[in-house]
């Protein structure tokens, strides 16, 4: 619809991700209390915050791995999960088929290694393009090899996940998500489970991706990554966004006491 309104397009840069008023509870535990987050096309937003603040839940709500009680999410203007009825203004859950189709546009990489253990690296990457998108096998393989080259694993295509290091598995997971040609990539602490010496190779792949213009939402404790790559840093606590801003100001002159405290504790722990 917005495409037919050029005037509006000119004044509003097109948002790749738009979340409005997303609220989620687990029983009595209100984990997200009306989170609104917008990410313009091609930008990287880094989400930081204490444990249990709802960062993982936020990412999982974006692609409907977690259902939520209120709010809406749209990727590139297309609603995911819930659509708002034009006339009544009521929020309606989309059909499973539509939700699955929408998920194709969102790549996600988790903290734990989630490759399919019964498939080779190459098969892991081409499975969804072939079975979900109907891409031909030769075409899927060509693209998979390009992606493997990008994450520096061209020599591992025949290997099985169990034979790879954690860092290699995460890079394959990134390639697997990219193979669906998503419009946005979500990363949930993808380096937290890695041995320190393997963190760099994964972050390097993510940096490259950001440089290539991918829109990304990255939950991480890697503050140097946030400083270098983020267009904007978002601080979450208690299920709300407490403060957000460009990394330069967030890290040097945060506006809120909570962010100051968090960064101080974090810096003490990691001595950076």
């Amino acid at each position: 619809m917005p495409d037919t309104e050029p005037g509006r397009m000119a004044t509003m840069p097109r948002l790749m991700l738009e979340m409005r008023g997303v609220a989620k509870r687990f029983g009595a535990n209100e984990v997200l209390r009306g989170v609104s987050l917008s990410v313009p096309r091609g930008q990287t937003v880094v989400v930081i915050g204490p444990s249990g603040s709802g960062k993982t839940t936020l990412l999982r709500c974006i692609n409907m791995l977690e259902d939520y009680e209120a709010g809406i999410v749209a990727v590139d203007g297309v609603p995911i999960g819930y659509a708002v009825d034009e006339k009544s203004g009521r929020r309606q859950r989309m059909a499973e088929r539509a939700i699955a189709a929408a998920r194709e546009t969102i790549g996600i990489v988790f903290q734990s290694y989630n490759l399919f253990p019964h498939m080779s690296v190459l098969s892991n990457i081409i499975a969804a393009p072939i079975r979900v998108k109907g891409v031909s096998r030769p075409q899927a393989e060509t693209r998979a090899r390009e992606l493997l080259a990008m994450v520096g694993l061209s020599d591992k295509e025949k290997e099985y996940p169990a034979r790879l290091s954690g860092g290699q598995q995460q890079r394959v997971a990134i390639a697997r998500a990219l193979a669906m040609e998503p419009k946005i990539m979500l990363f949930d602490e993808v380096t937290s489970a890695l041995d320190p010496e393997l963190v760099g190779e994964v972050l390097a792949a993510m940096r490259q991706l950001a440089r290539d213009g991918m829109t990304m939402v990255v939950v991480t404790h890697e503050m140097s990554f946030a400083r270098d790559v983020a267009d904007r840093v978002v601080f979450m606590d208690g299920g709300v966004i407490v403060e957000e801003g460009p990394p330069e100001t967030m890290f040097s002159t945060p506006k809120t006491e909570r962010v100051r405290q968090f960064l101080k504790r974090h810096n003490d722990r990691y001595r950076i």
């Binding site: 499973e96 019964h118 169990a162």
Partner: protein, 217 residues
């Protein structure tokens, strides 16, 4: 006199004829249970009345003796005016009970696939059937082959109970020969060896399949 070659030479053709029935029953039961057990396990993995039905079925068939189930099917269908042959009744009872066991094996296999695997598939846009076909079932099958092979062996041995409803399987043939000759030992020894060769085929087949389907994990 045990180990009488002449006696065994006369006995063997009759036993092999019975073995044919045993093999037919075994192959059909195993084939049907592989599919039926999977359907029951998938039903059991849903939420709602179908899962209850599947769970109740599994409990009932696993906790009553096969022989009783066989009699219930045989005489029950007779009373109901649907007299099936002994072979069909035996097959039905064998599938009923072993379907429950096989469903439990699949259930264990399904549970061994972590929620993260399902989520990874869904996050890639896979819908339920694609997810099962591409991600879940291949992992399940690789893990359930050894217990399924055990069940297959158990099925072959279980078929001997159809002798109770007058099916001329190898066991029934053996019983008839035992009653009409003094050479009891040779009959049972030969029958035992025939069962052993049948179950050995299953063991080797399973080991082959296990190697083919194994993945590094």
């Amino acid at each position: 006199m045990p180990f009488d070659p002449n006696f065994i030479r006369r006995l063997l053709p009759a036993l092999l004829e019975g073995a044919e029935i045993t093999i037919e029953l075994s192959v059909l039961t195993i084939a049907i249970c592989l599919v039926w057990g999977l359907l029951v396990a998938l039903a059991n993995a849903t939420r709602g009345p179908l899962a209850w039905l599947a769970a109740a079925y599994i409990q009932i068939v696993r906790n009553t003796p096969l022989l009783i189930q066989m009699y219930l099917v045989y005489f029950g269908l007779g009373f109901a005016g649907l007299p099936l042959s002994g072979f069909m009744c035996g097959l039905l009872a064998l599938c009923l009970q072993n379907g429950g066991y096989v469903a439990e094996i699949y259930r264990g296999g399904l549970q061994s696939v972590s929620a993260r695997q399902y989520e990874s598939g869904r996050a890639l846009g896979m819908r339920r059937w694609t997810l099962y076909r591409v991600v879940v079932l291949p992992q399940v099958i690789a893990r359930v082959i050894p217990p399924l092979a055990n069940q297959g062996i158990s099925i072959i041995k279980d078929t001997s109970q159809v002798a109770a409803i007058a099916v001329m399987d190898i066991m029934k043939v053996a019983q008839i020969w035992v009653e009409s000759s003094a050479n009891t030992y040779d009959v049972f020894l030969t029958v035992g060896l025939i069962y052993l060769s049948l179950t050995t085929i299953v063991s080797f087949g399973a080991r082959f399949a296990e190697r083919r389907l194994a993945f590094v994990a």
